[in-house]
């Protein structure tokens, strides 16, 4: 029954480590610290094994597939197929879960005696294990089972902090959206099964020509909704800003960094690999979705002052950027330009990796601050850099990486995305060029707005004077949390520095997909030269940017500190406050900071101000006792999408209520009528 070769054993060992971690932490749930140790130990070891496994797979370029036949069913097989794309996602999952698990050792301590750590460890390990299954499963049914384990275990992690009723509500929303998405995924698999007669991905791929185009288009729409819900594209993103703040911070990091990427993985798997050849409008639609998600994601992020919701909206933005790369790849391939398609795919894969790194770094460092401050409202922070200098440094690195500032990793993947889009602008005819111009401009504006948003986030959280009294009692987070964040920050720098080498490997991963087998590289990459676009259109070299910036900054600091006026005295004084006593109300707030840009985009964000004044005496209305100003932003996706949807469902359910009369005779007649209809349809 088992046909196993040696590397597949190592994959099963990998899975079983997480399984043992899950079970053992559940067994020892009576003792919090033992459960914490077991859960973290096994997830760390498992992640390390996963790293070795995936790196060796990528470097040796091996493909691996094995099937465990399940004797009682013809269509259900436990079959795995691990090609380089899967190995790449295993790499991302292991990398992020490694540092999240290290971080978790210290972070979980504040849950001791409050919640069961064993249960947490169970679902945490289960989540990582199921993530690995999702990116390796090669059978539709088996995939759905893994997908469900992933959704359920992450649901329980979202509602882990269950005494807060908001978290229960957020979890419920997440569950509903997940199931809506899953329904569409199941539908698309059933459509495929109807025409192919198999759930095996390999069979589907070889028999794809059996599916008529109209059905294929349906499948495309269903999978976009299904996997797009998990990935968090607008307008299916509403669970994301609700669920991420509810979960413990390292779970948010894992969910935002890795779990939503499984949606991206399946889009790549289906559209680039299995369902090829595809019509060109699929790529155009993905490009448009990417543009909308990136731009709206960052705009809504600007309106937030809950730090984790802000980061969640940035996840939506970055998924948009990933889809810009993917969409351009699909368009290029449909237009028979495989070299450029490979460039687009590379860009989206690289951004997937980079976003996983810097977004989990940001979530972890935000989590450290929340852990001390016990609030997520950034208006109550301020001046934290003096109390948590290292966390501040890590958040700064994450902010710079996500804002695509060189020399951090985010810049290089956005650079590649830009190149793919620029090539589209340069080489395609006018109708396609327009789409690429829209995509490139949304990427450009997204870059500027993301920078604004992270100036706001970093400035309000860490700089200036404390905005509440709580700040003065906080201290730097424990060692294990700093290690987790520190390594992610290091990764952010290393994947920037080695972006040339990384993109070389990404090319290899792209070429492993069957449609790119004979494709020439459009880029050339090496360590010193960095990434070069063929025909010398553009090139970027990370090491040289590093060296240039570092040499100049040291020279500048040296000259202006030690050569010119080296005996200068520095006096520490109060900030100038026009002679007034500066208190926290003199500082700018997050709302105030973003207000002008929100007003600029008032066509989209629809901001509103409510002014409530209470007077000392209601008759004369001269002396106001208190003023309340509520600043609100209307969500257009709620207003134009979910609200009408809700209304329609309400109307339909009101109409169907009419047939429910409570009269038994009526019910019997319903049964009779349906019986006759059934009979007629059989005859």
């Amino acid at each position: 029954m088992l046909e196993i070769i040696t590397p597949s054993v190592s994959f099963f060992v990998l899975l079983s480590i997480f399984f043992i971690g899950a079970i053992s932490s559940l067994i020892y749930q009576k003792n919090d610290s033992i459960a914490n140790f077991l859960s973290s130990f096994f997830s760390i070891i498992g992640s390390l094994c996963g790293l070795f496994f995936s790196v060796s797979m990528i470097i040796y370029g091996k493909n691996l597939s094995f099937i465990i036949n399940y004797p009682y069913s013809s269509f259900f097989k436990i079959s795995f197929h691990i090609d380089l794309l899967s190995a790449f996602f295993i790499f991302i999952i292991s990398l992020i879960s490694l540092f999240c698990s290290i971080y978790g050792v210290g972070y979980l301590k504040h849950f001791y005696k409050k919640y069961s750590i064993g249960v947490f460890g169970f679902f945490y390990n289960l989540l990582i294990g199921s993530l690995l299954l999702v990116v390796t499963a090669s059978n539709g049914i088996f995939f759905l089972i893994a997908w469900e384990i992933m959704s359920i275990s992450s649901y329980f992690l979202v509602v882990y902090d269950r005494y807060d009723t908001d978290n229960i509500k957020a979890g419920f929303l997440y569950l509903i959206m997940t199931y809506v998405g899953t329904v569409f995924i199941i539908l698309s698999f059933l459509f495929i099964y109807k025409y192919i007669g198999s759930f095996e991905f390999i069979d589907i791929k070889s028999g794809i020509s059996l599916i008529p185009l109209s059905i294929k288009n349906n499948i495309f729409i269903f999978t976009i909704i299904g996997f797009g819900t998990k990935a968090g594209i607008i307008p299916f993103h509403i669970w994301l800003p609700a669920a991420h703040p509810a979960a413990p911070s390292h779970v948010s990091a894992l969910m935002s960094g890795v779990m939503i990427k499984t949606g991206v993985y399946m889009m790549i798997r289906l559209f680039v690999d299995i369902l090829q050849p595809i019509p060109v409008w699929w790529g155009i639609l993905i490009l448009i979705i990417g543009s909308i998600s990136s731009l709206l994601g960052v705009l809504y992020a600007l309106t937030e002052h809950d730090i984790k919701r802000l980061l969640a909206f940035h996840s939506i933005e970055n998924i948009g950027i990933i889809l810009l790369g993917l969409g351009s790849a699909l368009i290029f391939y449909s237009l028979n330009m495989p070299e450029l398609a490979l460039l687009g795919l590379m860009a989206s894969l690289f951004h997937t990796l980079n976003h996983a790194i810097f977004k989990s770094l940001l979530f972890l460092s935000a989590g450290s601050v929340i852990n001390e401050m016990h609030t997520r409202n950034i208006e109550e922070y301020g001046g934290i850099i003096k109390y948590m200098p290292q966390t501040a440094m890590f958040f700064l690195i994450g902010s710079m990486a996500i804002s695509a500032l060189p020399p951090f990793n985010g810049f290089f993947s956005e650079w590649l995305t830009y190149q793919a889009l620029f090539q589209g602008v340069a080489q395609l005819n006018l109708s396609f060029q327009g789409i690429f111009i829209i995509a490139a401009s949304s990427l450009a504006f997204t870059g500027g707005l993301a920078l604004t948003c992270f100036v706001k986030a970093f400035g309000i959280i860490f700089l200036a004077r404390p905005r509440s009294t709580k700040v003065s009692s906080i201290k730097e987070s424990p060692l294990s949390m700093r290690i987790g964040m520190g390594f992610l920050a290091l990764m952010s720098i290393l994947f920037g520095l080695f972006s040339g080498y990384t993109s070389r490997l990404l090319e290899k991963i792209g070429k492993d997909l069957s449609i790119f087998k004979d494709t020439n590289y459009f880029t050339s990459a090496s360590f010193y030269q960095g990434i070069d676009i063929k025909n010398s259109f553009a090139s970027v070299s990370a090491p040289i940017i590093f060296v240039v910036l570092i040499i100049i900054i040291f020279a500048v600091i040296f000259i202006f500190t030690f050569v010119i006026n080296k005996n200068q005295k520095i006096k520490i004084e109060n900030t100038w406050g026009c002679g007034l006593n500066l208190n926290k109300r003199a500082e700018i707030t997050a709302t105030g900071f973003a207000r002008s840009i929100i007003l600029v985009f008032k066509g989209i964000l629809k901001p509103s101000i409510q002014n409530e004044v209470e007077y000392h005496d209601a008759d004369s209305r001269y002396l106001p006792k208190s003023r309340v100003i509520t600043i609100h932003v209307k969500n257009i996706y709620n207003y134009y999408f979910y609200q009408p949807l809700r209304n329609i469902i309400n109307i339909i359910s009101l109409k169907t209520k009419n047939i429910q009369s409570g009269n038994i005779n009526a019910y019997i007649s319903y049964i009779f009528i349906s019986l006759i209809i059934a009979l007629l349809s059989v005859l």
Partner: protein, 307 residues
């Protein structure tokens, strides 16, 4: 010889930049019927500030202390990676996106430094600066993309080496993109009608509000970096869109001509800026996005016209 040219290239921006500020101030003074200070006044100001003691806010963190160095570094690095008087140097950091995003580092730290002291002025200055620079980024990238598409390279040295004005069929695109770029130039270098570089009126200021808490050496670096940024944008505008007279090969004559022509171009641009500042009023803040979006749309039209 190449090394010598590189050294000139590296020091050209910081050495010349205070002069432009002096020239612009002088021309503005003439417009106002004043004598005006000497065109070398800004050098003296920098010198004076360098040798003063400093006052630092007790609320400030290392961001405030090191931001001037970072911002100055960025202007030096970018100044060395763009064509000034010679188009054959071809630095490895001369990709247009690299330049745009390295300059974003300086915006990032400038805004953070503005917020760091907890003064209301700095905070609002940062907010305004980020609003403008976020909206300017699209126009900046697209205007540079237009010339990059015409010369089919994003390397700014290569763009300046190919005389794009010879591509007469693209002349309209290039001119539209230049108008778009010039609007961005005014926005990014905090000039009229975006910002008033000589005001300290809290309702209007952007750049001056962010550096309000600085004094001594750090103020000098901030002011100097801002002057460098002006010359960087003038160099991009003049050498990418009008690459006439730029030295195309290594010879003393070409280099001398290149430097002289570049100085003339700087003079021309500073005259235009000075005339503009003497004749145009500062726009209301919420009208600035219209101007920036205009720049962006001009660039989109320019790109569409290329094909």
């Amino acid at each position: 010889m190449t090394i010598l040219i590189w050294i000139i290239q590296l020091f050209f921006v910081p050495v010349i930049s205070p002069l432009i500020i002096g020239v612009i101030k002088k021309i503005k003074a003439k417009f106002q019927n004043r004598q005006g200070s000497s065109i070398f006044q800004f050098y003296k100001d920098l010198w004076k500030l360098m040798y003063k003691d400093e006052v630092v806010s007790k609320d400030a963190s290392w961001i405030f202390l090191y931001a001037p160095f970072i911002i100055f570094t960025v202007t030096i690095a970018v100044g060395a990676s763009i064509p000034l008087f010679a188009s054959f140097l071809n630095g490895p950091t001369s990709d247009l996106l690299v330049i745009v995003y390295i300059m974003a580092i300086s915006t990032f730290f400038l805004s953070l430094a503005g917020m760091d002291t907890g003064s209301a002025f700095g905070g609002f200055g940062s907010s305004r600066e980020m609003t403008i620079s976020a909206l300017a980024e699209g126009g900046l990238i697209f205007s540079l993309l237009t010339v990059a598409l015409v010369s089919s390279s994003t390397n700014v040295f290569i763009i300046s080496g190919i005389n794009i004005l010879n591509h007469s069929q693209h002349l309209l695109s290039i001119m539209l993109a230049f108008i778009g770029f010039f609007i961005i130039l005014l926005a990014e270098t905090t000039r009229f009608p975006f910002d008033n570089p000589s005001t300290h009126l809290e309702l209007t200021m952007i750049h001056e509000a962010m550096i309000l808490e600085y004094s001594g050496k750090r103020l000098a670096l901030m002011e100097w970096a801002s002057a460098n940024k002006l010359i960087i944008f003038i160099a991009l505008g003049s050498n990418l869109f009008f690459p006439l007279g730029i030295a195309q090969n290594i010879s003393w004559l070409a280099l001398v001509i290149g430097i002289i022509v570049f100085l003339l171009k700087i003079l021309f641009f500073s005259t235009i800026i000075a005339i503009l500042e003497s004749s145009v009023a500062k726009f209301r803040f919420f009208r600035l996005p219209d101007l920036l979006i205009t720049s962006f749309i001009l660039n989109v039209i320019a790109i569409v016209l290329i094909n």
